[in-house]
């Protein structure tokens, strides 16, 4: 079920309004202005160091912008904190069983035991981890760990799910398995916002692309248009796998 409908009021859209981010006076992001709407899978694409992860952290509110602001515009904006989840590039799992990792996150949301059990079983099954539920999380393979991190986020039934280079450390097979799970989450109505530097993955996943280069939003376009006819020279060069200046 789409979480948006289930809850009645959406926290989306998410607006970046002239957002800049600087560390000790060095600007890393400048003048980011865009609005993310409910629905399409938004992929933030760009070379290493373009500011993709920073943008994602600003979107989630883990970082506060130096200039400008990040706002939830939807009627449910007030409950934004409980309606989003993040999966980081490297899975951060607790030293306990796979199931207990999911349960921990649900416990933080104050959900009753029965709901926690039901959801834990559901997401572990959906990510193919049910047989490993009792295994220590940190003994799982890299691909399984990342799927568990995704399952944990999924269990929160977020309206928006932020994914920071979720498959960057995975081999192609593990990467595909993860993408499959992400699609399943998306089918339930969760808005996906993910960063990647992997063109092929971006093509597989994206409905729309936000192309970042050197801390600026250079181009934003629906996926087919972006991949077939990029407008900006930076995006053209990136798609041709050229070294960008």
């Amino acid at each position: 079920m789409p979480p948006v409908d289930a809850r009645g009021t959406s926290i989306l859209p998410l607006a970046f309004e002239g957002v800049g981010y600087a560390v000790r006076g060095v600007p890393l992001l400048a003048d980011l202005s865009f609005v993310l709407e409910a629905g399409p899978c938004s992929v933030i694409l760009g070379p290493n160091g373009a500011g993709k992860s920073l943008t994602l952290r600003l979107a989630d509110g883990l970082l506060a912008p130096t200039t400008g602001r990040v706002r939830w515009l939807g009627p449910g904006a007030a409950r934004a904190a409980g309606a989003k989840a993040v999966v980081f590039q490297r899975p951060v799992l607790l030293r306990r069983s796979a199931a207990a990792n999911v349960d921990y996150a649900l416990r933080l949301r104050g959900l009753p035991g029965e709901t926690r059990e039901r959801r834990t079983e559901r997401v572990l099954a959906a990510t193919g981890l049910l047989d490993l539920a009792g295994q220590p999380a940190r003994r799982l393979s890299g691909g399984e760990q990342q799927r568990l991190a995704l399952a944990r986020a999924w269990a929160l039934e977020p309206e928006v799910l932020f994914l920071d280079e979720p498959a960057a450390a995975l081999d192609p097979a593990a990467s595909r398995a993860l993408e499959e799970a992400i699609r399943a989450i998306r089918r339930e109505g969760t808005k996906i916002v993910m960063t990647t530097h992997d063109l092929a993955q971006a093509e597989r996943m994206a409905d729309e692309v936000l192309f970042l280069h050197r801390g600026r939003l250079v181009e934003r376009a629906p996926a087919p248009a972006f991949f077939h006819e990029p407008r900006s020279p930076e995006a053209k060069a990136f798609l041709r796998a050229e070294v960008l200046p």
Partner: protein, 234 residues
Amino acid sequence: MPEIAEAFAAALRLIVGWEPELVEIAGLSLRVSLSAVALAAAVGLPFGAWLGVASFPGRHTLVVLLNALMGLPPVVVGLLVYLLLSRSGPLGALGLLFTPSAMIVAQTFLVTPIVAALTRQTVSDLHDEYGEQLRSLGAGPLRATATLLYEGRFALATALLAGFGRAIAEVGAVIIVGGNIAHATRTMTTAIALETSRGDLALALGLGILLIALSLAVNASAQLVSEAARRAAG
């Protein structure tokens, strides 16, 4: 070195003989040091964890200070606690001087900085790894700190053992505030100091061997428990 052979013989006699006086001394040593570690854990774990995740001006100075306190000289601590508890001292009315309680207080002062400093280090490292994820899951500072303590439980067990090692081995503080009174405040270390000054080196060394064995037993059992738990939790 005939003393060494004699010492081992003395140690063996002590253990085999299972003299009530020895059992009493060993028992008091364990009771005092384990109590001190428990109290130090109650203070040091939360304080160290807080210092590991907090950020405020002067934090770095406090960390340096805390690390330095790990090397507190036992005799100085003993002296300070003595002044605190002596009849004319601020806590003199409690009448704790020359009791096991006074020894526990003194050792708690010695152990707390060790537990707190090692906890600070452990939790700080874990915070670097987990902090952002816990925040994104919606864990408040208190909950996140409790989680980090739990995540660091194996390293923290080692911190407590380090504190226990410090307590069980020290003589300076307990001899000043306890007074090495037979059947009251005599511990393994104060008994060793006494027998050495009396010239009974074999007995002193025998007690020493026993003390090391005792310390080894506590460490080994803690290690076994910790290993088993670690295998279960990954």
